[in-house]
Amino acid sequence: MPIIQVKDLVKRYNGLEAVRGVSFDVEEGEVFGFLGPNGAGKTTTINILCTLLNFDSGTAVVNGHDCRKAPDRVRSSIGLVFQEVTLDNELTAYENLKFHCYMYNMEKKVAEERIDEILAVVNLSERKGDLVKKFSGGMKRRLEIARGLLHRPKVLFLDEPTLGLDPQTRSHVWEFIKGLKKSEGNTVFMTTHYMDEAEACDRIAIIDNGKIIACERPDELKRAIKGDTIYIKTSDDEKARAEIEKKFGLKPKPVETGLALTVEAGDKFIPKLFERLTSEILSVNLKKPSLEDVFINLTGRAIRDYGPNARPRV
């Protein structure tokens, strides 16, 4: 049974539909990405699944519990890392984690063990007794993710986990999320508007204007849109062009660096090219379509064309 089941979910704010009939399932152990521009309904959906927000119609079930009928049970099954920092700056890393353990009704002994264990995972053991206000943005993020995992949730929700971080910290946090899936086997549900992050998910749903417009594995999404582009340079480009046209029935385009041709599965096509082309190949370059291309193709706009939206409040 899928660990998250969402069917025909609708949420209105003052008569305006923010989420307009969203349906999807997330399997246990998956890293599931919610990709879309600001204001598309990502955070609204996550808040509904975390029982922080009511909804107007449809069903949402997390870990077998209905979000509307059994919110307490849903809250016990999930961990949540918010878009903005929600740590107490006046407390130490340890005290923030202890607060969380007690809110989740853990025994003192278990709490102490888990805190030490999780601090080691996020490389913050040495900063255990330091006030959080002295931490950098990346360290705070890691501590928040650690906190979200303390009570061993079945599903970890990450709302834009790398928002506002510098590229180096971003990749660090991201490596950690990927490692998590391997070591703990958690299901991870995350929202993002970074294309490269979405590509690292097992499956992604593309959401725009409160509706899911595609929900697939990233490579399949890309395959469905258009083929890969292969750039080659040969000893005699003119001769090679004629040869490719004749032998493969393709129409290579001459570009600055040589020839460019679009094929469906570029990785499988390259060996054939080497096998059957008589002119010597000097260089080969394969470009897979990006999710950015997918997004443009589905919506007709680039994801960065959207303006920022206001920060959600409880």
Binding site: T86, Y102, M103
Partner: protein, 254 residues
């Protein structure tokens, strides 16, 4: 329905935050002393109280009440603070009831205020008001009740406010009238009737009056104005009403 571990850790957090904010600690201790020894000494020379009570002695129950008032209201700012800085979401997403969170905030605010009031009470003997251990304990109980009433009231208001500026504006309109209409600086019986009406719905007025019963026993113009049982009943009912209301508001807000 209530998670005691959660209430404990919410309270613990507020105590740690209080202890770490040294500025708050200093202000808390300094404000009542300034009132007592500067304002109190000044007026003592000016005002002939007639009866055996000196003015500086008369205002001690009121200054204890003021300390509790400021401390309780200030502690409820943490709800607004937590909302503004996101920490409230960490609490709301935990598998505890909203009532648990309200009780945690209520208990921490009440306990902090009571502790500060009790600390101030230590100077009573130095002002010539010997109350003995039993008097001290009874006063601490009365302070707890007053602190509970005002914290619950503050919590109710704070749960509607989204920003710290809003909190400051609202609270200044509530805190100062509450203090001046509490009988702390002058008996409320001397006020014109239309103002006295507001004193009679002010929990601090009955609270301060209850302290006077213990701290200023005897006869005269400057002693308690209502029966002690009336004081306790009013403050208790006020505390119960606003505890209920703030739990209700918290439960409804999504």
């Amino acid at each position: 329905m209530l998670s005691y571990k959660a209430i404990y850790v919410i309270t613990l957090r507020e105590f740690k935050r209080f202890y770490r904010q040294k500025g708050r600690l200093v202000v808390t201790m300094a404000r009542p002393l300034i009132w007592l020894f500067i304002v109190g000494s000044g007026f003592t020379r000016l005002i002939d109280t007639g009866a055996g009570v000196h003015y500086i002695q008369f205002i001690l129950p009121g200054i204890v009440g003021m300390t509790i008032l400021f401390s309780s209201i200030f502690s409820t700012i943490s709800v607004v603070w937590d909302r503004e800085f996101g920490f409230l979401r960490e609490m709301l997403v935990a598998p505890v009831s909203r009532v648990t969170i309200v009780f945690g905030k209520l208990l921490s605010g009440t306990a902090l205020s009571t502790a500060q009031g009790a600390a101030l009470l230590i100077i009573a003997p130095f002002l010539g008001l010997g109350i003995g251990l039993d008097g001290f304990l009874i006063t601490v109980f009365l302070m707890f009740l007053v602190a509970l009433a005002i914290t619950a009231f503050g919590l109710f208001i704070a749960s509607f406010l989204a920003s710290l500026e809003g909190f400051n504006v609202i609270m200044n309109f509530i805190v100062l009238p509450m203090f001046f209409l509490s009988g702390a600086l002058y008996p409320v019986g001397t006020l014109p009737v239309w103002i006295r009406v507001f004193a009679y719905i002010n929990p601090l007025c009955f609270g301060v009056d209850s302290f006077k019963h213990i701290l200023l026993p005897g006869e005269g113009r400057l002693v308690a104005e209502f029966p002690l049982m009336v004081d306790i009943a009013f403050v208790g009912a006020f505390a119960a009403l606003f505890t209920f209301l703030s739990a209700l508001v918290f439960e409804r807000r999504k």
